[in-house]
């Protein structure tokens, strides 16, 4: 059928066209958040409040369980939970990304990647609301940011780059095989406990070793954002894994997307 090269270039063109029409992404993504909180007084800040409650309760419970000082535990937990919430929602929503946009896809010709970037934009807005918690916590525990915190920017970009290709792959596969959505959501749920978010890597008993963590791609992504904010530098391994994943992942995702994009409307 189509050669791999032309498949990739078609997919790439779709991605580029998506960003050329970025106003579609921002308008629709913003609308999604606005609609959810339209008749509420507090509005989207409910997100902040919910997250704050979750962090406080989990922080107290697990801080006590693991005998960790709250000043250490809470910021660590807060960043982990917020980033995890962002990442896991992206993956879960991407699974139904094309399916929920069915009506639009069947009527309007727009780059298909738009529908996924709308999800990304909407969740970035939500992330922005949740981030307000961090300065609050840092002030409360008098925990100053170090210059290392600047690493958070490249870290976050790598996180997004990885999230985007994963979204593309899952959206595609889940549109064709509807059961995969359930499988993915299940795995995401399990990963929450396997990844150091509510517990920290240093608590692992020696005989378990760090292999459990080193082979967990989500750990590397989260650490790229979390470590700089709590005053540590992400490890070279974190950077390498995340960069390699982004490169290989994008090539794979574009190949797959280029090959099957024509079929997506038929699968809906």
């Amino acid at each position: 059928m189509t050669s791999p090269n032309s498949a990739i270039s078609y997919a790439w063109a779709d991605v580029c066209a998506t960003f050329k029409q970025h106003h579609i992404i921002t308008s629709l993504g913003w609308q999604d958040v606005a609609t959810r909180y339209r008749r509420s007084r507090v509005g989207a800040f409910w997100l902040t409040i919910n997250m704050l409650v979750l962090i406080t309760v989990l922080g107290i419970v697990f801080g006590t369980l693991f005998r960790q000082p709250l000043a250490e535990m809470l910021p660590y937990l807060a960043i982990g939970l917020i980033v995890w919430g962002f990442l896991s929602t992206l993956i879960n929503e991407a699974c139904t990304g094309f399916i929920t946009a069915q009506e639009t896809i069947l009527q309007v010709r727009m780059p298909l990647f738009t529908h996924l970037m709308r999800i990304l934009w909407r969740n970035t807005i939500i992330l922005g609301h949740n981030l307000l918690i961090l300065p609050l916590l840092f002030l409360l525990f008098m925990k100053p940011l170090t210059p290392l915190a600047l690493w958070v920017l490249p870290g976050f970009i790598l996180l997004i780059l990885n999230a985007a290709w994963v979204m593309l792959v899952f959206a595609l596969v889940c549109t064709r095989f509807r059961d995969v959505t359930q499988i993915v959501q299940n795995i995401v749920q399990v990963m929450f406990y396997v990844t150091p978010i509510i517990w920290s890597a240093s608590l692992l008993p020696d005989h378990v070793g760090t292999a459990v963590i080193d082979f967990n791609p989500l750990y590397h992504l989260i650490n790229l954002v979390r470590a700089p904010l709590i005053g540590e530098a992400p490890s070279a391994l974190n950077w390498t894994v995340a960069t390699l994943m982004a490169l290989i992942g994008w090539v794979a995702a574009l190949t797959l997307f280029g090959r099957y994009h024509k079929k997506i409307p038929y699968w809906l």
Binding site: Q31, T35, R38, L106, Q107, V108, I183
Partner: protein
């Protein structure tokens, strides 16, 4: 952009819809069929295919006004979707040159909780208007809806007539090169209907190519010079509007 003459060319275009029943859509059966050596797989391997369009060849040049007739299930909507570039044909070729807008469901993208003004914005974005264009035409769109102060009220508070007026006003604010319509858009009370029809005619005459699917003989004959009659996914007849209408609708 308007200087390029639009055209549409289909060569032996076919569209087959795979029918994935729940069985073949799921991964379970794929895995099971591998394990059981294909026994279940043979029942569920999704071999069922509906032939939506078969070997359609046609050319539409700039300036043409084409009507589409055919009974329900003849493939009209499928063909409209191929012409708008939504379905890539599964066989043959489709070349579509020109910016295409399809007015099939004019309520697409409308959010009942948002105000009329916000909905105009949303709908316009969906139709591919750029922010500058939207800002430029939003005043005119609002004026056309005749909604007055209601424009800043939530869409859900509108009466059905008001909702239609808003959707109509935005949907007809674009001036695409290729316009694809499933049934003529018309709505509202007598007064609005007259204005709506006039506006619709403006949109149609601004378009280089019009493809209109309809069941109304009168509408087709007023708007189209050429009619294509689809039957079971094939072209039964393609020619002068009067001739085809005579055969299709009877004298």
């Amino acid at each position: 952009m308007n200087s390029i003459a639009s055209f549409i060319e289909l060569k032996n275009t076919s569209v087959d819809f795979p029918v994935y029943n729940a069985g073949s859509l799921s991964l379970k059966n794929r895995v099971l069929s591998a394990v059981t050596g294909g026994k279940i797989g043979r029942q569920h391997n999704g071999a069922v295919v509906i032939k939506g369009l078969q070997n359609i060849s046609l050319k539409i040049k700039a300036g043409e006004r084409v009507g589409l007739v055919g009974h329900n299930g003849a493939g009209k909507t499928t063909l409209l979707r191929v012409l708008s570039g939504i379905y890539h044909p599964t066989g043959g070729q489709a070349t579509i040159v020109g910016e295409c807008v399809s007015l099939i469901n004019i309520g697409l993208g409308i959010d009942p909780e948002a105000t009329g003004r916000e909905n105009i914005h949303l709908r316009a974005v969906m139709m591919g208007m750029r922010p500058a264009q939207i800002n430029q035409s939003i005043g005119e769109i609002i004026a056309f809806t005749n909604l007055g102060d209601f424009i800043d009220m939530p869409f859900r508070t509108y009466s059905t007539g008001m909702q239609l007026r808003l959707a109509f006003a935005v949907s007809t604010a674009v001036r695409p090169q290729i316009l694809v319509m499933d049934e003529w858009l018309s709505t509202g009370d007598e007064d609005f209907k007259k204005r709506a029809d006039q506006r619709m005619s403006e949109v149609v005459s601004a378009a280089q190519i019009l493809v209109l699917a309809s069941h109304s003989r009168e509408l087709l004959l007023t708007n189209c010079k050429r009619l294509i009659w689809l039957e079971h996914g094939k072209i039964r007849m393609d020619g002068d509007a009067e001739d085809v209408a005579e055969k299709y609708f009877g004298v």
